[in-house]
């Protein structure tokens, strides 16, 4: 890769890492189920950015766009199913505090 492309990709790489850290931090330190989902969304944003940046750096932008679109669709479906589960949990518990979900010990 040309040096300019390398620098560009490095910059995007650092950005992706930062967003990943913020996303993981959110998922790990929250007690609210919807916050967990938002953290997952943030992680998916980071990965989408990585796909597009790699595609741009490698010249495979069409393939990268196809992958990004597929990933977005998958992400929407997962979020929708997770929200439905949260709504059902709310109906049971009248709360979405994760502390109440420790009934299943791993």
């Amino acid at each position: 890769m040309s040096s300019e492309m390398t620098r560009l990709f490095s910059m995007f790489g650092v950005g992706v890492c930062l967003v990943l850290i913020v996303g993981f931090y959110c998922v790990l330190t929250t007690r609210n189920l919807i916050r967990v989902l938002i953290g997952m969304e943030v992680l998916t944003k980071a990965v989408t950015l990585l796909i597009i940046a790699s595609g741009y750096a490698a010249g495979q932008i069409a393939l990268a766009q196809a992958m990004a679109i597929t990933l977005i669709i998958i992400e929407v479906v997962v979020i929708v199913v997770a929200i439905c589960i949260i709504l059902c949990v709310y109906r049971h518990n009248k709360s979405i505090d994760t502390a109440l979900l420790k009934q299943i010990k791993g």
Partner: protein, 474 residues
């Protein structure tokens, strides 16, 4: 011909949900039983060469599917496990609408699993693993009870982490290889360019697969999912879905994509051994049948990964053989757990006892399943474990071989405890009215037990047709 494995279940889903298909919805589970039996039969009858021929269909649909020996073995396992799950599901759901919804989601998970074992592209592999996972989320949470919802949610979160790892890896590999097909990635990795990035990417992908396969230390979701899911979903998940999503991915990568690497082998063996140990030790203290079987699954998958990490053709063949055997005997044990749950309404072992007289078939098939899991001759589990242990010994991994043998004994211990607590002894009065499980469940248990027994007894004959071809080219 291969696209049919994906298109037939898809048409099934469409047909089931047409407005005028009421009669079809009533027999929904029979449809799945038929489909899975056909899948298993078709794979056994036609050898690999048949599937490689191009047919009329390939002119219209350019689906890039390939089926080598490994894929065929997986298709067979999928057919068998789905057959068992459908037979159990037939007796679990009474409401017609629920039946048709469950069967529709079951068929979608079949699409996901068949697709995952047939594609030749890393990103498509990921897509179909996600299809299987999303179908599993819905299946686990199907009854909307709190435990099922929690189990499904934990699985969702860990699956999202696995997604992040796998897709990042695919993005980085795409950059190096110019594409995501297995062949392209293999060529790029062999050319050895960009070593740090390549290692990062392969490591991330492998970790993602560890999460999906329920290996230690990423096994947090397995317990909740297996024990809280409705009975047919547990059979499907434990029997095949975890194997396809996690373990098949690892096998396919090691065999087809990654160049032979000492690091990867070491990591696989370590993770495999740790899974065996943690799974077996945790299973010793469990009081609930399904939870005990869940930990046992983690342990057995550890054996598969241990054999895979061995690196020699014998080790890999043993791993694949154990994968197949595990899908058979673990499905059998979960079918029996479903029978117990259906008849008793509980899966806690303390409330059971002496059921061997009331549920004779379940008891006998359970014994066969237990002995096969523990690796007792002449059942199938013994042979596959033997192959793995021999492969480890031959490759001078003596410590791992010893661990494998030792924890086989631990497996025997906790499973015999299970058997004794549930089936042997005197029947307590509170269990006086218990009867044998419905016909379909019993039939499924008998078929699976027969397979375990048959493969075990006929192994010397099967060595040439089944095992040796697998250690060759896939």
């Amino acid at each position: 011909m291969l696209p049919l494995f994906i298109l037939i279940p898809l048409t099934g889903v469409v047909l089931l949900n047409l407005p005028f298909a009421g009669a079809l919805r009533k027999r929904a589970f029979a449809l799945v039983v038929l489909l899975s039996a056909m899948q298993a039969a078709v794979v056994v009858v036609h050898p690999a060469g048949f599937w490689a021929e191009t047919s009329l269909m390939d002119r219209f649909l350019a689906l890039d599917l390939k089926a080598g020996q490994l894929s065929l073995v997986m298709l067979l396992s999928i057919g068998i496990a789905l057959f068992a799950a459908a037979m159990v599901g037939h007796c679990t759901f009474r409401d017609d609408r629920q039946r048709s919804h469950f069967v529709s989601v079951l068929l979608i998970s079949l699409i996901g699993m068949n697709g995952a074992v047939l594609v030749a592209d890393l990103f498509s592999l990921y897509v179909f693993l996600e299809v299987t996972s999303v179908a599993s989320f819905v299946l686990i949470a199907f009854n909307r009870d709190l435990r099922g919802l929690e189990g499904a949610f934990k699985y969702i979160v860990l699956s999202a982490v696995a997604t992040v790892l796998m897709v990042s890896a695919v993005a980085l590999l795409m950059m190096m290889a110019g594409g995501t097909g297995f062949g392209q990635v293999k060529a790029a990795l062999e050319a050895g360019q960009g070593a740090t990035l390549a290692r990062l990417a392969t490591g991330a992908f492998v970790c993602g697969l560890f999460i999906k396969g329920g290996l230690v230390p990423f096994h947090g979701w397995v317990l909740g999912a297996y024990s809280a899911a409705p009975a047919p979903a547990s059979v499907l998940l434990a029997g095949i879905a975890t194997k396809v999503t996690g373990v098949y991915g690892l096998v396919r990568l090691v065999v087809t994509v990654f160049p032979a690497s000492e690091t990867i082998n070491q990591v696989l063996m370590l993770v495999g051994a740790v899974s065996i140990v943690v799974g077996a030790l945790a299973a010793l203290g469990q009081r609930d049948v399904k939870r005990l079987l869940a930990y046992s699954s983690i342990s057995q998958v550890g054996y598969i990964v241990l054999g895979l990490g061995c690196g020699t053709p014998l080790g890999i063949a043993g791993a694949i053989f154990h994968l197949f055997n595990h899908s058979v005997f673990k499905s059998l044990l979960f079918v029996n757990a479903a029978a117990l749950e259906g008849q008793l309404g509980t899966t806690e072992m303390d409330r059971m006892g002496g059921l061997g007289q009331k549920m004779p078939v379940t008891g006998v098939t359970s014994v066969i399943g237990v002995l096969s899991t523990a690796g007792v001759p002449p059942l199938s589990g013994f042979w596959s474990k033997l192959v793995i242990i021999v492969a480890l010994w031959q490759a001078y991994h003596h410590a791992y071989a010893v661990i494998a043998v030792l924890f086989s004994l631990v497996t025997l211990a906790y499973l015999l405890v299970l058997q004794r607590k549930v089936f042997f002894g005197k029947t307590s009065d509170s269990l006086a009215g218990v009867r044998e499980a419905p016909r379909e469940v019993v039939a499924a248990a008998l078929v699976l037990a027969g397979l375990t027994l048959g493969i075990g007894l006929l192994f010397p004959l099967l060595v040439h047709t089944f095992l040796l071809p697998m250690s060759g080219v896939f």
